[in-house]
Amino acid sequence: MGTMTASSLSREASNYDEVSMQQSLLFSDSLKDLKNLRSQLYSAAEYFELSYTNDDQKQIVVETLKDYAIKALVNTVDHLGSVTYKVNDLFDEKVDEVSGTEFRVCCIEQRLRTCQEYIDHEGISQQSLVIDTPKYHKRYILPVGETMHGAIRTKSKYQGCSLDDEDDWHQFRNAVRATIREAPSSARETPTSSARETPTSLVNSMRKGRSPSPSPRPPPQRSATFSFTSTMPKKDLDKRSISPHRFPLLRSGSVSSRSTTPNTSRPTTPSSAPAKKRYPSEPRKSASMRLQAEKENTKDIEQYPSKSKRLLKALLSRRKSKKDEMLYTYLDEY
């Protein structure tokens, strides 16, 4: 079969070469005829001039000259028409060859571009394996056995920003719920407004492929949040997970007042991770206790100037009246 195809191809090539050779020969012959036409016309003109002057039958010479001129003109037009047609045909063939060659070159360039893109892609993937991925902190405090397991899983999932495996997803969700049940009071003590996102909204954001915030976001009202997330649409969840004023009516007044603090960092940025880093051994306070402590601190700060005034007054009075006993009493108070 190969020899047959090769022989057929060689025959076609030989035929093509023969046809092209014949065409080129015909073209060259027609060009030669056109070149010879000029000399023929000049020789015919000289012949008729001589015959008209020498011959007696001039009328016959004139008629013959007319016929010859008409035939010469017609032959010239035919020659020029054939030559121009052949030239146009040859030119179109060359243009077709050039367009075919351009097409081949475009194909080669496209292949080369595809190879270059593939090489670039492989290089990027090879280099991306070398880059250290950011390590996020644990979101929730899990039991000892589940903490390591869940942390590794969440870390591995954060790299891809998707929880595709259903088993891993359910395990992670159960671990988060168990942690929230074990430490319900710790969910209320986060003071910043960025810690208002529910675990379900967090999980939704992770499912959508966002880069999740590493800071833990327990809800202010856990039971209400979980009941709402099951009924609310996803858009509302996303909107409310971003806003710091989530469920303002369900909170106590102190917590809602604290939620208006300007520390409204974006929930998607992991920059606030070290600031909100919490360890299990850290002593925990409820929100109301912390507020009370802050109020006591402010009272102490207000009491300090009054005491200092009294101390100064006592010193002045000591200078004046030299009564050290009074000073000692104030010093004891101080």
Partner: protein, 98 residues
């Protein structure tokens, strides 16, 4: 013209006038023939001039195409030569992909 020279006698004036008229008509016929021939030759020259201009424009466009094609081929040859001169690129990518 040959006919105009013949004739004689009393009716020679009439025949001379007729011969002159015939000669003039023949002369006008010859002029018409020459004008036809010259007109056709002029048309032929116009066609040749137009053909020359179109052929020149086509040849210039073809020359431009060939120039661009030559440059692209040179670029491809250079890329292929660089690729063949650095086989380590391909070997590294193949090892990483493998």
């Amino acid at each position: 013209m040959a006919r105009a020279g013949g004739g004689g006698g009393g009716g020679g004036g009439i025949t001379n006038a007729v011969n002159v008229g015939i000669a003039v008509q023949a002369d006008w016929e010859n002029r018409e023939f020459i004008s036809h021939i010259s007109l056709n030759i002029r048309r032929l020259f116009d066609f040749l001039i137009q053909f020359e201009s179109t052929t020149k424009s086509k040849l210039s466009s073809l020359n431009l195409k060939l120039d661009t094609l030559e440059r692209r081929l040179q670029l491809l040859e250079l890329q292929v030569s660089t690729a063949t001169s650095n086989p380590s690129l391909f070997t590294s990518t193949t090892t990483t992909t493998a």
